[in-house]
């Protein structure tokens, strides 16, 4: 086996999406990168796993039995561990296109974006109206409210920060969203679906936050523009599951000389004068005899996920998720093969929204006839977490298998990393898309490199041979 180089510019720990994007762009920019993961597969928390792995991970089967066998070949399943979708006009799409990682991953639309109004059996589930015309047809509003919503969406669509005549007499940087809603005379139910299923806020905190109106309008515009791009929903999704994304960026990094090592445990992080100076690690496959391959190398910086630095991160919340296998589409969703369905918090007496993200064989994540739905929310209680997800689980109808673990801690770094040159990513949050993840990528890059990340033009070279 080849020797590890004596020194790297950057060591990256964990092959989650955040880490793999950073490895990819750092490698393209000429940095010498060593990327390790303690697992035997790519993706860390952003991996997609097969059905057998799911049963074994959650342990909800009797030992000796093999319940996954009745669901076809285990490898035909690619089950995401994080319930997220890509905004088709979002920043992750931009990064994928800018780096040409789109060559390795194929995308398909998510068939619909839905929101629930009311609760229990009488709840209305309807498509989220995405433009003025759809607002007029939506069953979510009465006839007069439809027109007010149309006026609001037209205003958002025409809004141009540089052109005060489009501001409708408001200074958004000083205004609360409540004032904006009031100005258009919108009813509470309309505010709910706009704020939660278009602007995708998970709580109502944004409404009275001064100056948040601008952010809200930008979020609605992202939704509307993403919707306009392919037509069915604002979301797209990679064939074979989200786990393809970290693999694609890892390949980008490798093509630019990045060194990849799975099954590698970090034994020690070395410091010199308070700054990181290198690592000691062991690569050993599961079941492999002997000590494995021990090595030591110097590095100037480390980027890693929180699981590699338990003493440098803190918990900022917990989220709950239940991964469910269905053999039918979800009721009241036009038999959509994939969707996002948001149950705004106020509709079910909560502080945080409940999300349902569903994909199916249309995305090559399971055999034909099956659907994978993930119900998630932020934990608000300390016990009986399944009750918190109940309104979402009810929405699914009959569930074949349900995988739900304890609340999942969301970590963030205690320090910004400039002191020791160790830059730690955030856990994937409870949002339904990757926009906050790409914010974290940019933030990490800024902290690590002292400059803004520009992804434009980071295309792969076309030569097999490096130009040196």
């Amino acid at each position: 086996m080849e020797e590890i180089a004596p020194e790297y510019d950057l060591v990256v720990l964990g092959t989650g999406l955040t880490e793999c994007i950073l490895s990819g762009v750092e490698s393209v920019k000429g940095k010498k990168v060593l990327h390790l993961d303690r697992n035997d597969h790519y993706g860390a928390e952003a991996a997609s796993v097969n059905l057998e792995t799911m049963f074994k991970k959650y342990g909800n089967y009797q030992s000796g039995s093999e319940p996954w066998k009745k669901y076809g070949r285990a490898n035909d399943w690619n089950i995401d561990l994080v319930p997220k979708l890509l905004m088709s006009n979002g920043e992750l799409t931009n990064i994928l296109v800018s780096t040409d990682v789109t060559r390795y991953v194929e995308f398909k639309q998510i068939a619909g974006s839905y929101v629930q109004q009311g609760n229990g059996a009488k709840a209305t589930v309807a498509k989220v109206p995405s433009d003025a015309g759809e607002a007029l047809k939506s069953p979510l509003m009465g006839i007069f409210e439809k027109r007010r919503a149309r006026n609001f969406l037209q205003w958002v669509g025409n809004f141009d920060e540089a052109n005060p005549s489009t501001h409708n007499g408001m200074n958004l940087a000083q205004t609360t969203m409540r004032q904006v809603y009031d100005k258009f005379g919108l009813e509470p139910g309309t505010r709910d679906f706009i704020g939660h299923s278009m602007a995708l806020y998970t709580t109502d905190d944004y409404i009275d936050s001064k100056g948040a109106a601008k952010d809200c309008v930008e979020r609605i515009r992202l939704y509307v523009n993403s919707m306009a791009r392919y037509g069915k929903s604002p979301y797209i999704y990679p064939l074979y599951g989200l786990g393809e994304l970290p693999q694609g960026f890892a390949r980008l990094s490798a093509i630019y000389g990045g060194t990849y090592m799975l099954n590698a445990n970090v034994d020690e992080i070395k410091y010199d004068g308070g700054k990181v100076s290198g690592i000691k690690a062991t690569m050993k496959e599961r079941g492999e005899e002997g000590e494995g391959m021990k090595f030591e190398t110097k590095c100037k910086k480390i980027i890693g996920d929180p699981s590699y630095f338990p003493d440098k991160v803190r918990v900022v919340g917990h989220y709950l998720k239940a991964i469910c296998i269905l053999n039918h589409p979800i009721d009241k969703t036009d038999n959509a093969d994939s969707l996002q369905l948001i149950i705004p918090q106020s509709q079910v007496g909560r502080k945080h929204d409940i999300y349902i993200a569903m994909v199916s064989s249309a995305h090559n994540v399971c055999p034909k006839g099956y659907y994978i739905a993930i119900v998630s929310t932020i934990a608000e209680t300390t016990a009986n977490h399944h009750l918190e997800l109940q309104p979402g689980l009810e929405r699914l109808g009959k569930i074949e298998e349900q995988f739900m673990g304890p609340p999942i801690p969301i970590y963030e770094s205690v320090e910004d990393g400039t002191k020791d040159n160790i830059f730690i990513s955030k856990s994937y949050d409870a949002s339904s898309h990757f926009e906050t993840m790409t914010d974290d990528v940019r933030d990490l890059y800024r902290r690590a490199e002292g400059e803004e990340l520009k992804v434009e033009g980071l295309k792969e070279g076309q030569n097999l041979v490096a130009d040196e």
């Binding site: 296109v97 789109t102 398909k108 490798a254 093509i255 990849y260 249309a362 490096a466 130009d467």
Partner: protein
């Protein structure tokens, strides 16, 4: 979408099919050199490890009517510490597993890669075994560490195509890829492709707003 096929634009029943080919084998057996010889008809004695190519494409005309285009994926060094991603094998139609005929251990590695392919790749993948660096043995016969008959017997038993090649002299390189092309299910791929093309309403091309023609692999890699 096992293969990417374009039908039409060629009158008179012409067939055109595109297939994904993956390279496997131990480091430094000459995987990239074989492809470089095949695609660009070049060879470089002191080439560094693979860098900078997503994949290369090369077209073979099997006859006047039939054209096969290979989309060739290199390991990008991810095989070095056994860290190839499942994505690499995904939808590969064919594979070239390379060993070095002057290094006996490299054939053992090749056998392990064949096993890995059988585990990870499509069931009907076409696999070719290439014993590279034939030029070294032509110059100094005592450098040979793997007898042709041994490798050939293994290839036959495992149902692999087999060639001893030299990326340096081009010996058997074109023959290797042509033999693979001949075994590929071009007819089926054409039919699948037509159905696929008709039903291709949901797939999205993210690169639609990027400048066209940027990249070795053609537009977006999504032209199935």
């Amino acid at each position: 979408m096992a293969s990417r096929v374009q039908q039409g634009g060629r009158p008179g029943g012409a067939r055109f099919a595109q297939f994904k080919l993956v390279l496997l084998g131990e480091s430094a057996v000459g995987k990239s050199s074989l492809v470089l010889r095949f695609v660009k008809d070049q060879f470089d004695d002191y080439r560094e490890s693979t860098i900078g190519a997503a994949f290369l494409t090369q077209t073979i005309a099997l006859d006047e009517q039939t054209t096969v285009k290979f989309e060739i994926w290199d390991t990008a060094g991810q095989e070095r510490y056994k860290s190839l991603a499942p994505m690499y094998y995904r939808n590969a139609n064919c594979a070239v597993v390379v060993y070095d005929i002057t290094q006996a251990s490299s054939l053992d590695k090749a056998k392990a890669w064949v096993k890995e392919l059988q585990r990870q790749a499509n069931e009907n993948i076409i696999i070719a075994l290439a014993g590279n660096k034939a030029d070294l043995v032509a110059e100094q016969p005592d450098k040979r560490a793997v007898p042709t008959a041994d490798a050939e017997a293994y290839a036959k038993e495992a149902n692999l195509l087999f060639f001893e090649t030299s990326a340096k002299t081009a010996e058997n390189v074109k023959e290797l890829f042509t033999a693979i092309a001949k075994k590929l299910p071009i007819e089926q791929a054409s039919q699948r492709g037509m159905r696929g093309a008709a039903g291709r309403t949901a797939g999205v091309d993210l690169g639609s707003r990027a400048e066209p023609g940027s990249g070795a692999g053609g537009p977006g890699g999504c032209n199935c």
